[in-house]
Each structure stands twice: as structure tokens, then as C-alpha cells.
């Protein structure tokens, strides 16, 4: 800087000058008692209503959860469930029924829920090949699919542990002796169907090994249409998870008795996992989940409490 451009009034007002002198116009919030009180009260007034609305939404959802993994094992095998499930000669069909507690408006979503199943285990999550799923056999790079990448020196499509352990219990629902139609289309994310799983990729050499994991796939249907596989391949976040099985597009009335016929194929017995069937409607918020609403109410009321306690202490100490 030369002397001429130092210190003239115009320069002193320029934004750059204020910046270099660390004198920019600034907002300097201070937590004065009034502000503290207002802030906490404000949080409370926002959070409690939001929590109540959320809770209401959660309560409007009707959810039926039926655990079937033990009930479907015949009495003699209850001691050694693993031998039951691994023995192919024993028929796996099973049925149970439940009563609808409340009117359920269509669409009713059908989920299967697995507990203590580590779909998020690193070895499991990594064992897939996105390239192969999209482009098929020509593609290399299936080494990530270990230990289920080749069988008899030929690549497996789809390769990897995730696909290999595909869930294969099936359910049919009967109400008043008539089968309830289950829509099993569009249960996977649209982006998955269109961009992650190839339209021209067909299952090949799948479940041909000595050790067969889970379900088999129809080799004539391209992967992009194998929605069960797509849903399954979208790995869960936690060891207890639900996955979408299908939708019932008819309303269920109160006290309707629904009989479920199922094929209990999937082995969760060897690792002590639970299998459940879930039927649920949804609200604008999603499924039945009181936690969010309760948490909102809790945080809201704590902050109101803090506001009150703070103000009381503030006034008390001022009096002294």
C-alpha cells in the first residue's frame, strides 16, 4: 500500500478494509437469560406438538406381527431344529392363522422380519459384484464375490454371499377360504431395478454347488425382474430387519381370520435367528413407530423443564 491509498474515508468504509481490520459487520449472539428462556421454550413448543402428531400417525397404523420359526417346526424336531431344516425329505409346509384386530386399509404391506441375522457383516456386505449384476457374465471383477464366485470353474450369476443366502420362505394368505391376492411387483426400489440389475443378465450356475444356501432363481427371468433378489440384495442396516415381501391390495376387516400357508425353507435355526411375518398398513409417516414421537415429546418437555428451572434459579439468584 502506498500512502495515498491508506486511510482515506472511502477506503475505511470499503468492505475489504473492514475485512482486513477484522471489523466486518457481524451478528454477535449472546445467551442472555431472556434468550435462554425463549430458546428453550421455543424448542418445547415446537417439539411437543410435532411429537404428538407423530405419535398419532404411529397409532393410526395397524400392525400384525406373527413369529413362526418355532411354531412351524414339528414337535419331534423341536429339540434339534437344525436337523429338521437341513433334512430335505421333511416337508416344510406349515400354516397358522390370525385374527385381524382392527380394520386395515389397503395397501397392506407384507414383510418378513429376521432377527439376529447379520446382513451388515463386513464379509457378507462385501461379497457381491455390482458390475456383474448390471452387465452379466462378460464382466470381470467377481473376485469381490468370494467365497461364492465360481462353481466348477464357471462364474456364478449372481455371485456372492448375499445372493447365495437368498431368503426363500414363501407365504400364501387365505381369507374366508379365498386366497388373498398378494402383489409382489414393485417391491424393490425403482433405481435398483433399472440401474443396478441388468435386464439382460440371467441367473447362471446359481446354487449348483455342493452347499446350497438359500433360494433358487428362475434362470429364464432376468435379474432386473427378480424382485425378491433385489430386495434381499439391499442389505439391512442392523441385525434385526424387515424386508418387503408384497402387498395385499384389499382391505381387511376387523375380526377377519387370515390363514397363512407358508414354506418354512430358510434356516435361521443354526444361529438362533427369529423369523416373523408382519402385516402392516402405513400412515403418511411410514410404519408403526412410537419411538420418534416419544423422543420428540421427551426432548420438548425436557427443554421446557430446563427453561422453567433456569428461570426460577435466575430469579432466585437475582433476589439475593
Amino acid at each position: 500500500m502506498t500512502d495515498t491509498d491508506r486511510g482515506t474515508q472511502r477506503d475505511r468504509d470499503s468492505a475489504f478494509y473492514l475485512f482486513t481490520q477484522q471489523n466486518l459487520p457481524a451478528c454477535k449472539p449472546v445467551l442472555t437469560p431472556e434468550w435462554v428462556f425463549m430458546t428453550f421454550l421455543f424448542i418445547g413448543f415446537i417439539f411437543i406438538p410435532v411429537g404428538l402428531v407423530t405419535l398419532r400417525a404411529s397409532h393410526s397404523v395397524v400392525e400384525i406381527v406373527e413369529r413362526y420359526d418355532i411354531g412351524c417346526v414339528p414337535e419331534p424336531f423341536r429339540i434339534n431344529k437344525v436337523s429338521y431344516i437341513q433334512d430335505d425329505s421333511i416337508p416344510k409346509n406349515c400354516s397358522f392363522s390370525f385374527k385381524v384386530p382392527k380394520y386395515m386399509k389397503a395397501p397392506i404391506y407384507i414383510y418378513y422380519q429376521l432377527d439376529n441375522y447379520y446382513q451388515n457383516h463386513r464379509r457378507y456386505v462385501k461379497s457381491r459384484s455390482d458390475k456383474q449384476l448390471l452387465h452379466g457374465q462378460n464382466q470381470h471383477g467377481i473376485s469381490s464375490c468370494q467365497p461364492v464366485e465360481v462353481n466348477n470353474d464357471r462364474p456364478i450369476i449372481p455371485c456372492g454371499l448375499i445372493a447365495w443366502s437368498l431368503f426363500n420362505d414363501t407365504f400364501t394368505f387365505i381369507r374366508n377360504r379365498a386366497e388373498l391376492k398378494v402383489n409382489r411387483k414393485n417391491i424393490a426400489w425403482k433405481s435398483d431395478r433399472e440401474h443396478k440389475f441388468g435386464k439382460n443378465v440371467y441367473p447362471f450356475n446359481f446354487q449348483n454347488g455342493t452347499l446350497i444356501g438359500g433360494g433358487k432363481l428362475n434362470p429364464r427371468i432376468p435379474l432386473s425382474d427378480q424382485e425378491d433378489l433385489i430386495v434381499w440384495m439391499r442389505t439391512s442396516a442392523l441385525p434385526s430387519f424387515r424386508k418387503l415381501y408384497g402387498r395385499i391390495e384389499k382391505d381387511l376387516d376387523v375380526d377377519d381370520v387370515v390363514v397363512v400357508h407358508l414354506m418354512n425353507n430358510y434356516n435361521t435355526y443354526s444361529f438362533g435367528g427369529k423369523k416373523k411375518l408382519v402385516l402392516s398398513t402405513t400412515s403418511w409417516l411410514g410404519g408403526k413407530n412410537d419411538f420418534l414421537g416419544l423422543a420428540y415429546v421427551f426432548i420438548g418437555s425436557s427443554s421446557v423443564t430446563i427453561a422453567v428451572v433456569f428461570t426460577l434459579l435466575h430469579l432466585l439468584s437475582q433476589r439475593h
Binding site: R6, Q21, Q22, N23, L24, A26, K28, V30, L31, T32, V36, I43, F47, V50, T54, V82, P107, Y109, Y118, Q119, N120, H121, R122, R123, V125, D130, K131, L134, P147, L161, W164, W189, H195, L211, R234, S236, A237, L238, P239, F241, R242, S270, F271, G272, S280, T282, W284, L285, G286, G287, K288, N289, L292, A295, Y296, I299, I306, F310, L313, H314
Partner: protein
């Protein structure tokens, strides 16, 4: 150079700086041996012999790196940091199957971080390179033998043996041997400012044998060989021999012109290049200043170790559980979790060898939880510090308009240390005072001359409570002759009136001494305008005073001094030439200076001036006529804070002089070790039987704003020590003048000038004196200590002299002395030497363990500046050497107030907040990974997509934290200065103590727990959207990550106190950038984006639950800190909170706040706190109540 030159051997013989002529002395005998092997063939740089020696060229490079070694060398520098090594190892291992994430995602941030640091290094080095290029391409005239003329050549092409011609005001391109100059007596003047910071001119003198070679033609025949010492760093020594004309001539530093010094007052010189490039003395001297690290940085290293231990612990816990889970995969010969194929597994997951798997998993864990260690911490801090330095340099309030000097942060890594200064050690002369001496008073023949009050007198009068009515303003007619260095007002002397004074002959002699007895060089700037180049400002004051009275010194050469004097009888001005025979120079040991001259009347005179004590010793019996009165006056002057000097003369007998001169010349030309001693003794012989004329009093003016600044610093609770060479009386008075010693402050004086000690000194038994002194000092210290303890409510000022200090530094006494000193608000060490200054500094630093700041301006302060934690140099008049050794340079002492209280406080706060926050944000992030791990049976699966993780430190959280580190202000600069007590936050380090650091870490842990558990419980399980879809791994990752980004950025918004558009942009921009990133990254093909593919657009954004969860988690995670802050500010406010609230409050409540602070503090005060603090608060209170009235 076709000038006719007279050769005048006689003149140079008389020159006081005559060179050593004797050859074959001890050192010169070593020539040719080891260490003295350099050979220069003058004027034959192309000869075979010279080329064979392969001396380096004159190309100079001061850069740290070259184009070739930049990459390896700077990389090596980077990986000297433990944290960077760790990240490098992680990056290498990330190619193995051990890695929980893909290799590029860990390498990218490392490359960004290392690249940023390297770029910074590169830019700095490039600047140095530009300077080098400039220096290397300067032009100099080099002799070309073939054409017998000089031709312009670049500096870098200069070779050893070249003959060069340097003109006035040019720099010497290399170390040269002076052959001849445009002066007939082959001398030249040089300025060595760039070497040692001294601004005075030095005289160099060529050998007479070479003086003939002063034109291009004559140089053609010049052939000589120089054998001399090898390159070394000693600026003031040179040993060599010139072989010329079959004769040997010894060379001394007198003939050497050093690179980077400047030719002054001389038309031109011719010289031979001896040392080039890096062999030159100045380059050999270039060493890096000692690097200093701040306390915060050292503590930060310890925090990193804590985090490393946490990392190892967490990984260990993880791998323990992983081992157990893996072991359980094989129970009783059956594989439990069959979907993991434990039958066909690698070693990493093998249930048959769980111990090995667990160990390998531990390595994976070390990589995964590496996010606990903030990778970008170092580079962010460095960037912040550089930017902070720029702000310091740019501050207009620290810019000296007169000198055109802004403040300059020479090192950027000490910024935050400025906010923690506990003790300031200050030099006096040139630091507190201007070091521009003003001649104010004198005492001639026992009569006082000069009226007007000095600043010290004004201060003293104010102290006594006198009304300053008599202080008549200097009227216009008097002030018309106002010169720098002259403030003498007396109608009896000025304007030639001295002639009619009763003792006019003494007055005449007195001013003649002042006009001749000096080493100043006049520089005629124009008619009636003469500047003087002087060694010390005192001398300038004397010469100017003599000029103003009528004894104008206007020309000097080696043998004469010319004065233009007022002739008392005729009343006209006449030129008189004094033949200068010898100069007996001033030295701190001799404390006097004298010249021997022959006046136009052919009288031999010895004219002397010096410290009163020294001169009074040497008076003759008849010369003591005015002794008593003069002594009185000197006493009075020094009380008034003036520097005094006694003036005397002697008429020499011709024979006596002749005999003395012979001996003296003999001593001077001898090169034995005791030469100096011999010369001192001889000088003593002639400097006796003096006749006292009078005494001078020079005022060392206080710098502008010093008292106010010191007052502020004291109120900030900073202890101030003044280390000065002055007499005790002067020091105490200066102390009062600059409010170091204040009204109501008790003085403790520790001294050895006690009757019993003095009595013993007369006896002369050195051991007895030492013992008695030690005991006396011990007694005095103990007495003072008990006094300080008894009267804990009063302030104390400790005054100790240099001699007592040596005893107080005794290792048995030093602790109690320092204890005493620490309880005093001010400590003044008078009569201390430069070395003592450094020793005291080191002692204060080591005994207190707190931050010390040394401030000084001269070469004698360099030791002190380098010893202290922070060295501040005043870039004033005394050259640049102190500045070169300093960490910060300011133009005036008063800027220290702003540097410490504003910039220091801000930087301290910024850096400590920044580091705490850094750890907070990384712990928050790192532990969410850990909690997720716990739900994947510790298999090492990260909760987030690889690229989210690697961008965390680099993109989503980096800019706000830099904004915090660069821009945040808790209170404005004005309030910082208004409330100096705020500074104590830094001194006590309350923003970066362990409770606070651990508090932030705990907050991070809490945030991570809140984020993880609220998110998982809210979003997973049942459907999270109306269309019945459930949240999977990718959705959970995005939700959690969103919450983390929001939370850490909002915490930042909560913790800063200063929002400009920059903060808003960075904080909210970082959050917005996360969404933008997600959209962009989610739209690239799924084989690259994997789990992030369209996750925001398709899955999360349409889900109301996602947004509601974000809101819930962020508020919940902010709530703990928010409530803590709310309660803490209201019920246990820190100093800055108080000030912030006060600023907000209406005027009426300010009084209550102050009162509350007062009562609180007196309750809370512990014995360790400074007692001054209470008083300060009381002062504040008084001031504020006064304002109200």
C-alpha cells in the same frame, strides 16, 4: 578514474584505524595450514591454478528446496509428524483386504492434506527463490583484462580473483579485499546494516601498497596472490596474507568488505573477490533462528497421544468382541452363521483361528477408527496461523505512519502464545524510550543552563501532586529552531549570547569538546543543512547542540576536523581546523572517549567526555574547581531521568606526547593477545590530570503512549520486568514516568551499595566481599519476602541492580528471589549487562514455567529475544538486528498493548477453541462408527459409504473450523482493550485446560451416542415411508451422516460469538454442500456410487421421517451443550461472558455487574492469584462509579 591522486603516506600513518602491519604473528603463521588454505590469484580468475581450486561461484540460493529435491524433501518433512506417518501406513495397508474401506477414499484426503501443506511450503520457498533471483542478477562492474575496462556482469557470474568496481550506495557482491578507493588515503565507509544491524558507518582502509591501483589502466598490471583463512562465519575476524611484489603483507578485517554491506560516502572502490556465494561471511552466518513451539501445540501433541490410546483401546475392545463372535460361528462342529460361509473362509474371519482373526481385525479397527485422529488438524492450524499473521500485519492500529512500518509477524506459529504472556521482560533504551537523545541541559563551570521540564520531571511533579503552572509553554520564537535531538532552551547561551557570560572561556572550551570529541561523520545535504552519521544518538545530540550554540562541525577527514566557530572577540564565524592526532575510542569498559588534537594555535589538547565516575577519578588537583557543584547537578539530572556525561580537557606537553605516541603506536601495531590491554593502559596514561569543564544532560525521550500501554498491561495482570543498563536513580525515575512504578506502590530496593559492603570493598579481599555480598542479598530478600507476605494488599515494585542480581542468581537463593520477584507487580533490574538479560529471561521462563515475552530493539537484546518464549523486536532506529532475531516486529512499544490484548487474546481463543472443536467433531464422527460396529458383530463394516467418510474432514467440516480459527472474536477489539482483565483467560489457560478439553471430548462422545441411538431407533425397523419401504444400510448411513454434519456444524454455530457473512457462508454452506454432494455423487453410475446411488433423491428426500429424524437428532445433540452454556454463562460466567453480557445490558445494570464481579472474585480469590487483581477491580469500580457521578 583519471583523477590525480596525491599519495600521502604520512596521513595514513596517523590514522587511528591503521592496519596491523606486522607479519609473521601467531595467527598469520598458520596460513597455508588446515583451516587457512584458501588461495586467491588476484586478477587471474581464468588461470589454471585458480580454476583447479574449484571454489564455488557467486550464485546464491537460500531456498530450502530445489526443483529436483522439492518432492522428496518436502514429503520427508511432512512425514516427520507422527499423525501423518499413521495416515500413510493406513493408506498403504488400505490396499490389503484388511481395509474396511476402499483405498482411494483414504488416499484422497491424505493427498489433499499433504498437498495443501506442501503447497504452502512451496509458495514460501518460491518467494525466497524470487529474492535469490533478484540478488543473483544484480549487476556489478567487473574488470576485463583483454579490453582494459570494466564491464557490467551479473553477480552470479562473479568468480574468485575477479577485480570489481563498486560505486557509492551499491552493495558489495561478494567478500572483497579493498585495493583502493576514490579517497586519496585509500579509505572507504561502509554500512553494515544487513549484517549486524548497526547503522553507523564503518571505516575500511586498504593497504598502502595497493593504493596505486586506482584506475582501469593501472589495474592491468596488477598481480598478487592472497592466501587466507577458509570460509567461516566470524564477521569481525579475517586472517590472510597478500603476496605482492615478492613481499608479504598481512591482511586484517580492515581491508575486507563483506557481501551485503553497502558503500557509503565514497565515490567508488576497487576490490578483489576473495569469498563468493555461500563462502561469504554473511551466508556462512545465515542460520535459522531457533524454532519455538507454543505451549498449546505441545499440549496438542499430548491430546493426540490420548486419542491414539483411545483408538487402540477401542480397536482392542472391538477385536475382543469380534474374536468371541467369530469363535461362536463354530459351535460344536456346526457352523452357526452359515450365510457367512465359515467353512470356506479366509484367515480374517476364520472361526477355527479366532485369535488370529481378532488380531488382524484389530488392525482393521485401527484403520476404521482412525477418524478419531483429525487428519486435517495440523494443516488447518497452519492455514489459520498464516491468516492470523496476515491480520496482524494488516492491522492499521499497529501501523506507524511516521516510519511507514506495519507490524510484522515474522513467525506465524507463536500467535496464540501472544495471548498467554505472563511476564514481559523489556529493554529500556529504544524500547520504552525513543533512543533519540535530546540535549536538554548542561552544567558549565558550575552553572546550570537549560530550562524546561523533562517528561520524567513532569511525572515526578505529578507524583508529588504539584500543580504544573510554571510549565510555561515554549513560545513560537523559541521553538522555531526545533531539531531532532535538540531541546535546549536558554537565553543565556543561545544565539551567541554565551559570549557575555562570566565564564565564557569555559563555555567555549566546553562546546569545542562536544564538537570535536566524537566519531561522527558529517554529510552536507545542502547549504546550511548538515546531517551527521553517528554511532550513538548521544553523540548526535552533542554535535547538534554544539552546532546550535555556534560550533558547527562540518567536515572531517582522517587527520582533521573542521569547525565553523563564532569568534568571541570579533563576533564573526571563522573556520578552524583541528588536526586530529588520535582517537581513543569509547568502549563500555572504558566508559569514556577522548581525542588528541592540535588546534590552530598549535596547542596539543586532549579532549575527553565520559561517565561522571570515570572522569572525576582523573581530574587534576587544579581541575577540580567545579567538581562539587557539577556533582550536585549531575545528581539532579539523573533524578530527572537524564543521561549525564562529564566533559573535561587537558593541555598536553609536547615531549610527554611524543614519548607516549611512540609507545602507543608500538602497542597498536603489535598483534599479541594483550594488545588491547596494552592500549587501554596507555590510554589511561594520557587521560589523566584532566580539567573539568562541566556536564551534559541528555534526555532519552519516552516513546509515545508508553505509560498508558504499561498501565493497561499491568491491569491485564502481566508482570513487567525492565532490564536496563541505567543507574538506579535514572531507572526508578523512568519507572515512574512510564507508570511502571505507581503511586501507592511500595519499593523494595535490593542493592550492594551499603556502607558495610563498601567498606569491605575498600579493603579489597575479594572472597570476603563475595561472601558478605551474598549474605547481605540473602538477608534483604528474606526481609522483603516477609514484608510482601505481611502486606498482601499493597503493590510492590522491586528494584535490583546488576551486581546484586549476580548474587541473587546464586543457586541457593534463586528460588526465593524469583518467588519474591513474582509477587511484585514490577521488577526493575538496573545496571544489567546484555548477558544478564538473557540469563534472567531464561530463569523467569524456567522458574515460573509460564510464557515470557521479551521486547527490545538493539543488538544487546538479541540474547534475550531468542531466549524468551516470544521475542518482540522494535523496528526503531537502532538497526534491524533485534528485529531479525525476533518473532514479531512492531514499530513502537505502545503497539504491544494491541498485539497482546487484542491479537494475542483472539489468537489464543481461536486456536484453543479450534483444537477443542476439532477433537469434538472427530470424536463425534469416530464413535458413531464404533456404535454401529457393535451392531455388526464388530466385523469392521463402516456405517457410511467410503467417500462420505473421506470427505468428512476435508469438505463438510473443514471450512467452518478454519473460519473459527481465523475470524472468531469473543469481544470486539475495543472491549478487549477496555477490559484488560480478559487477558487473564489466556495467562491462566482456562480455555485450553484439561477439564475443558476432556469436556469437549465428552461432549463428542455424548453427541455420538445421541446421534447413533436416536437415528437407528427412529428410522430402522418399520417402514420409513408411506409406500412401505424400509430403511436399509444405505439409508441409515445417509441419515446418520446427515445428522453428524448438521450436529457438528451447529455446535460450531453455537460456540462462536461472531457471525459475519463468512461464518454464515461456511457453516450453512458446508451443510448445503453435503446435500449437493449427495445428489451429485448419487447420480453417477451405481458401479461407482454403490450404496449412495440416488439415495437422497429416491429414498430419503421423499420420506418425512428422514427430515423429522434429522431435526430431532440435531436438537437433541445440541441440547447438552446449550444448557451447559446457558447455566454456565448465567451462574459462573467467564470474563468474556461477563463482558458480552455487559455490552448487551442497559447502562444502569453495569454497576451491579461490576459489584457482583467484585464480591465474587474476592470470595473466590485464592492465595495463588495476583493480589493486584482485586485492586484492579476496585480501580475499575471507582472509575465506573465516577463516570456515573
Amino acid at each position: 578514474m583519471a583523477r590525480i591522486r596525491k599519495r600521502s603516506i604520512q596521513l595514513s600513518k596517523l590514522c587511528s584505524f591503521a592496519c596491523c602491519r606486522s607479519s609473521s604473528q601467531d595467527e598469520h603463521a598458520q596460513i597455508g595450514q588446515k583451516g587457512y588454505s584458501r588461495v586467491v590469484y588476484c586478477n587471474e580468475p581464468d588461470s589454471q591454478e585458480q580454476i583447479r581450486l574449484r571454489y564455488r561461484g557467486n550464485y546464491v540460493s537460500t531456498t530450502k528446496y530445489t526443483a529436483v529435491n522439492f518432492l522428496p524433501k518436502s514429503l520427508f518433512e511432512q512425514f516427520r509428524r507422527v499423525a501423518n506417518i499413521y495416515f500413510l501406513v493406513v493408506a498403504c495397508v488400505s490396499f490389503s483386504p484388511l481395509a474396511p474401506y476402499s483405498a482411494p477414499s483414504i488416499i484422497l484426503p491424505l493427498v489433499v492434506v499433504i498437498g495443501a501443506t506442501m503447497a504452502k511450503e512451496g509458495v514460501e520457498d518460491w518467494r525466497r527463490n524470487l529474492q535469490d533471483i533478484e540478488a543473483n542478477n544484480r549487476k556489478v562492474e567487473v574488470y576485463d583484462k583483454s579490453s582494459c575496462s570494466f564491464r557490467q556482469t551479473k553477480w552470479k557470474d562473479l568468480r574468485v580473483g575477479d577485480l570489481v568496481k563498486v560505486c557509492k550506495d551499491e552493495y558489495f557482491p561478494a567478500d572483497l579485499l579493498l585495493l583502493s578507493s576514490s579517497y586519496e588515503d585509500v579509505v572507504c565507509y561502509v554500512e553494515t546494516m544487513n549484517l549486524d544491524g548497526e547503522t553507523n558507518l564503518k571505516l575500511k582502509h586498504a593497504l598502502n601498497v595497493t593504493s596505486f591501483y586506482s584506475s582501469a589502466e593501472s589495474l592491468k598490471e596488477f598481480r598478487a596472490v592472497i592466501k587466507c583463512e577458509d570460509p567461516n562465519e566470524h564477521l569481525y575476524s579475517f586472517i590472510g596474507t597478500l603476496y605482492f611484489d615478492c613481499q608479504q603483507y598481512s591482511l586484517s578485517p580492515q581491508q575486507i568488505l563483506l557481501r551485503d554491506s553497502k558503500l557509503k560516502n565514497t565515490e567508488c572502490i576497487f576490490g578483489v573477490v576473495i569469498f563468493t556465494g555461500h563462502d561469504t561471511k554473511v551466508m556462512q552466518n545465515a542460520t535459522d533462528p531457533p524454532s519455538k513451539r507454543t505451549k498449546i501445540e505441545r499440549r496438542m501433541d499430548r491430546i493426540i497421544y490420548v486419542l491414539f490410546s483411545t483408538l487402540i483401546l477401542v480397536s482392542f475392545i472391538g477385536s475382543l468382541f469380534f474374536g468371541i463372535e467369530t469363535n461362536n460361528d463354530l459351535s460344536g462342529g456346526n457352523y452357526t452363521r452359515w450365510y457367512l460361509r465359515p467353512d470356506k473362509t479366509t484367515v480374517f474371519f476364520d472361526p477355527r483361528r479366532p485369535a488370529v482373526a481378532a488380531f488382524l481385525h484389530c488392525l482393521t479397527g485401527l484403520m476404521l477408527y482412525g477418524y478419531l485422529i483429525p487428519i486435517s488438524l495440523y494443516v488447518s492450524i497452519e492455514i489459520c496461523k498464516v491468516l492470523q499473521s496476515i491480520f496482524i500485519n494488516q492491522d492499521q492500529a499497529m501501523y506507524d505512519e511516521v516510519m511507514d512500518r506495519p507490524a510484522h509477524a515474522r513467525t506465524s506459529n507463536l500467535n496464540e502464545e501472544l495471548g498467554q504472556v505472563h511476564t514481559i521482560l523489556s529493554d529500556k533504551t529504544g524500547t520504552l524510550t525513543c533512543n533519540s537523545m535530546e540535549f536538554v541541559k548542561c552544567s558549565i563551570a558550575g552553572t546550570l543552563y537549560g530550562r524546561g521540564m523533562t517528561e520524567v520531571e513532569i511525572a515526578l511533579a505529578r507524583k508529588r501532586g504539584e500543580q504544573l503552572t510554571e510549565q510555561a509553554p515554549i513560545d513560537a520564537s523559541e521553538s522555531k529552531k526545533s531539531f531532532k535531538g535538540f531541546n535546549f532552551r536558554d537565553e543565556h547561551i543561545m544565539d551567541g549570547k554565551w559570549v557575555s557570560e562570566p565564564q565564557s572561556d569555559v563555555i567555549q572550551k566546553f562546546f569545542r569538546v562536544l564538537a570535536t570529541c566524537h566519531t561522527a561523520v558529517p554529510e552536507v545535504m545542502g547549504p546550511d543543512e548538515i546531517m551527521y552519521e553517528v554511532e550513538s544518538p548521544d553523540e548526535a545530540a552533542f554535535v547538534i547542540a554544539a552546532r546550535e550554540v555556534g560550533f558547527e562541525f562540518f567536515a572531517r577527514n582522517q587527520t582533521s576536523i573542521k569547525l565553523r566557530e563564532l569568534d568571541p572577540t570579533s563576533g564573526i564565524r571563522v573556520d578552524r581546523v583541528y588536526e586530529l592526532l588520535h582517537v581513543l575510542e569509547f568502549s563500555s569498559a572504558r566508559k569514556r572517549m577522548s581525542v588528541i588534537v592540535k588546534n590552530p594555535e598549535n596547542q596539543l589538547l586532549l579532549l575527553a567526555k565520559g561517565a561522571d565516575s570515570v572522569i572525576f577519578e582523573r581530574l587534576s588537583k587544579e581541575g577540580r574547581a567545579y567538581e562539587e557543584r557539577t556533582k550536585e547537578h549531575i545528581e539532579k539530572y539523573s533524578e530527572a531521568g537524564l543521561r549525564t556525561m562529564a566533559v573535561a580537557y587537558r593541555e598536553l606537553d609536547n615531549d610527554e606526547y611524543k614519548t607516549w605516541e611512540q609507545e602507543f603506536l608500538k602497542a597498536k601495531t603489535s598483534v599479541s593477545a594483550d594488545r588491547d590491554v596494552l592500549m587501554d593502559e596507555l590510554a589511561c596514561q594520557i587521560e589523566r590530570d584532566l580539567i573539568l569543564l562541566g556536564a551534559t544532560a541528555v534526555e532519552d525521550k519516552l516513546q509515545k503512549g508508553v505509560p498508558g500501554c504499561i498501565d493497561k498491561l499491568a491491569r491485564a495482570g502481566i508482570g513487567i520486568w525492565v532490564l536496563t543498563g541505567d543507574k538506579r536513580g535514572t531507572a526508578i525515575n523512568i519507572g515512574y514516568a512510564c507508570s511502571l512504578l505507581r503511586h501507592g506502590m511500595k519499593q523494595i530496593v535490593i542493592t550492594l551499595e551499603l556502607p558495610e559492603i563498601l567498606a569491605q570493598e575498600k579493603e579489597g579481599d575479594k572472597e570476603a566481599i563475595a561472601e558478605a555480598s551474598l549474605n547481605s542479598i540473602k538477608l534483604q530478600i528474606l526481609k522483603a519476602k516477609s514484608q510482601v507476605t505481611e502486606e498482601s494488599s499493597t503493590e510492590f515494585g522491586l528494584i535490583i541492580d546488576g551486581k546484586s542480581l549476580t548474587y541473587a542468581m546464586d543457586k541457593n537463593l534463586v528460588n526465593s528471589f524469583m518467588d519474591l520477584a513474582m509477587r511484585c507487580a514490577t521488577v526493575i533490574c538496573c545496571r544489567s549487562s546484555p548477558k544478564q538479560k538473557a540469563v534472567i529471561t531464561r530463569l523467569v521462563k524456567s522458574v515460573t514455567g509460564r510464557t515470557t515475552l521479551a521486547i527490545g530493539d538493539g543488538a544487546n537484546d538479541v540474547g534475550m529475544l531468542q531466549e524468551a518464549d516470544i521475542g518482540v523486536g522494535i523496528s526503531g532506529v537502532e538497526g534491524m538486528q533485534a528485529v531479525m532475531a525476533s518473532d514479531f516486529a512492531i514499530a513502537q512499544f505502545r503497539f504491544l498493548e494491541r498485539l497482546l490484548l487484542v491479537h494475542g487474546h483472539w489468537c489464543y481463543r481461536r486456536i484453543s477453541m479450534m483444537i477443542c472443536y476439532f477433537f469434538y467433531k472427530n470424536i463425534t464422527f469416530g464413535f458413531t462408527l464404533f456404535w454401529f460396529e457393535a451392531y455388526t458383530s464388530f466385523s469392521g463394516q463402516p456405517a457410511y459409504n467410503d467417500w462420505y467418510m473421506s470427505c468428512y474432514n476435508v469438505f463438510f467440516t473443514s471450512l467452518p473450523v478454519i473460519a473459527l480459527g481465523v475470524f472468531d472474536q469473543d469481544v470486539s477489539a475495543r472491549l478487549c482493550l477496555k477490559h484488560p482483565l480478559l487477558y487473564q483467560e489466556g495467562v491462566r489457560n482456562i480455555l485450553f485446560n484439561w477439564p475443558r478439553i476432556l469436556g469437549w471430548m465428552f461432549n463428542g462422545l455424548l453427541s455420538s451416542i445421541i446421534i447413533y441411538f436416536l437415528t437407528t431407533n427412529s428410522i430402522t425397523g418399520p417402514a420409513f415411508r408411506k409406500d412401505g419401504q424400509v430403511a436399509d444400510y444405505s439409508v441409515l448411513g445417509v441419515t446418520m451422516y446427515t445428522c453428524v454434519v448438521w450436529t457438528v456444524n451447529c455446535q460450531m454455530a453455537l460456540s462462536i460469538n461472531y457471525f459475519t457473512w463468512i461464518q454464515h457462508l461456511f457453516i450453512w454452506g458446508s451443510i448445503a454442500f453435503w446435500y449437493i454432494f449427495l445428489v451429485v455423487y448419487g447420480s453417477i453410475p451405481p458401479t461407482l456410487s454403490t450404496t449412495a446411488y440416488k439415495v437422497l433423491v429416491e429414498a430419503c428426500a421423499p420420506s418425512i421421517l428422514y427430515w423429522l429424524t434429522t431435526l430431532l437428532v440435531v436438537i437433541a445433540a445440541l441440547l447438552p451443550l446449550l444448557s451447559y452454556r446457558a447455566f454456565q454463562i448465567r451462574f459462573q460466567p467467564m470474563e468474556h461472558d461477563r463482558i458480552q453480557i455487559q455490552r448487551r445490558r442497559p447502562e444502569s445494570t453495569e454497576y451491579d455487574a461490576t459489584q457482583r464481579r467484585l464480591s465474587e472474585s474476592s470470595e473466590a480469590r485464592t492465595s495463588s492469584e495476583l493480589p493486584s487483581e482485586v485492586r484492579i477491580r476496585i480501580d475499575n469500580l471507582k472509575a465506573s462509579s465516577k463516570r456515573k457521578n
